[in-house]
């Protein structure tokens, strides 16, 4: 490793310690703040439509809520995305409002028979927000996503998701 850069020792430790407080020579996750790229932003939108599943068989239904959004990185990036419930049926004080999730938010799914969720997808070109509903045993279900108003904080890192 080159000796050029900024190194800050941890409190009470010397710069020769293996673990430093800050070392500019080491890699870290970073987000480009160029305003034209919008690699960090807060989206606000209705959580989806009232997607339905059919009774009788396992069933999958999906829709794209945002995207394709070109991130212009040229590789599939590591992303951090948080889904925040701003209101339900227009009520910011409703049970469930104010809740949020890392990478995915489940509108329904605690029974293990339904998985109704909002999440993100990214590839080497584009970033998407999607809403899907899976009805594993075909009980027939209507999504409640349209009652949710979501804030979506996304951060697209200038780091590859996979491969060096």
């Amino acid at each position: 490793m080159t000796q050029k850069g900024i190194v800050v020792a941890q409190d009470g430790a010397s710069l020769t310690s293996a673990d430093t407080q800050y070392d500019s020579r080491k890699k870290r996750l970073m987000i480009n703040l160029r305003p034209d790229l919008k690699h960090v932003a807060l989206l606000e939108m209705v959580g989806g439509t009232a997607l339905q599943t059919n009774a009788g068989n396992g069933y999958h239904n999906e829709e794209i809520l945002f995207g394709p959004f070109p991130h212009k990185l040229g590789f599939t990036p590591r992303c951090l995305v948080y889904f925040y419930v701003e209101s339900i049926n227009g009520d910011p004080n409703a049970v469930g409002a104010g809740g949020y999730g890392d990478s995915v938010y489940f509108y329904s799914g605690s029974s293990g028979t339904i998985e109704d969720k909002i999440f993100f997808v990214v590839d080497d070109t584009n970033f998407y927000i999607k809403h899907t509903i899976d009805d594993f045993f075909g009980i027939g279900w209507t999504s409640t996503a349209n009652t949710f108003f979501m804030g979506i904080k996304y951060m697209i890192c200038s780091n590859k998701l996979k491969a060096i």
Binding site: M1, T2, K4, G5, I6, V8, A18, D19, Q21, Y22, D23, S24, R25, K26, K27, R28, L29, M30, I31, N32, L33, R34, V40, A41, L42, L43, R78, L80, Y82, Y84, G98, G99, Y100, G101, D102, S103, V104, Y105, F106, G109, S110, G112, E115, G151, K153, M155, S158, N159, L161, K162, A163, I164
Partner: protein, 275 residues
């Protein structure tokens, strides 16, 4: 600050920058990458043993459990032999259960693993910071850049942030808190962390086991001398339902209850601000 280095993002005065508007504050830890590897390994048709099969993906000598992420690069394995990947205090392992009746099909693991240099299971909280009142915008032409050593040809002024280890036109992930909490101590199996950030924070979670990595509800030993020690799953592998006040983050399970020891990493980044 008494001693250290403080650098705010471009166009934001240091004196009024919020914690999430800093490119560097040497009082705080930054989520630092220790290593990134591509790991390939083949279990041949004759190498299976009945019971636990494991292979070490990554070794280190830090004597602590390091957080990591895994992405599959096109592994070739059957549905009977899905690997469970976890960290111990000397590295990262893939474990696969092979039952006596299972077919001894050859499988190949091909994984990308990013390892972070952070003792995330230990308790830590960053020193607090109170910005002074804002003094208006400054010209966006000023800032600091440190070119990364990893990119031949990288120069000051490049627009690709992968060329820099520090750039005031970019933000790193600064760490507010981390630690381990046993959620069984709460009647509703919630993770409850007092963060006192003043905003709703972003976070990453990972599950742990204290007796060994779990598989289909069962428990098998950790590799070698690590039987009975804590292991940790990939960072971000737990999807929960969070809520937070300005001071306290509460997390419960989504689709299944949280159980046992949970590792949390709270970042200096608000969930409800697009900055």
């Amino acid at each position: 600050m008494a001693k250290g280095i403080e650098i705010s993002q471009t166009a934001i005065p240091v004196s009024s920058a919020a914690d999430y508007q800093k490119s560097l504050d040497s009082r705080w830890k930054i989520l630092e990458i220790l290593d990134e590897i591509v790991f390939t390994f083949t279990f041949t048709t004759t190498s299976w043993v009945t019971g636990v099969n494991y292979v070490k993906i990554y070794s280190h000598s830090k004597n602590k459990i390091l957080p990591f992420e895994v992405q599959d690069l096109g592994s070739d394995y059957d549905t009977l032999h899905v690997p469970n990947i976890f960290a111990t205090d000397d590295g990262i392992y893939a474990v696969i259960i092979h039952a006596a009746a299972d077919a001894t099909t050859a499988i190949t693991l091909k994984l990308f693993v990013r390892i972070y240099n952070l003792d995330v299971t230990a308790t830590y909280q960053a020193p607090s910071s109170t910005p002074s009142p804002g003094s208006g915008n400054e010209k966006a032409l000023f800032g600091a850049e440190i070119v990364s050593n990893d990119f031949v040809g990288a120069r000051m002024g490049d627009e690709d942030m992968t060329h820099f280890s520090l750039n005031t036109g970019a933000k790193p992930f600064q760490i507010h808190m981390h630690g381990t909490q046993n959620v069984n101590n709460d009647a509703s199996h919630r993770l409850i962390v007092d963060h006192y950030l003043g905003y709703l924070p972003t976070f990453l979670l990972a599950g742990t086991t204290d007796q060994g990595a779990k598989y289909n509800g069962g428990v098998y030993d950790n590799p070698g001398a690590y039987a009975g020690k804590r292991t940790m799953q990939p960072l971000g592998s737990l999807a929960g339902l969070a809520s937070s006040t300005f001071t306290t983050l509460t997390m419960r399970g989504a689709q299944s209850a949280l159980f046992g020891n949970i590792v949390y990493l709270i970042l200096k980044d608000p969930v409800a601000l697009g900055k």
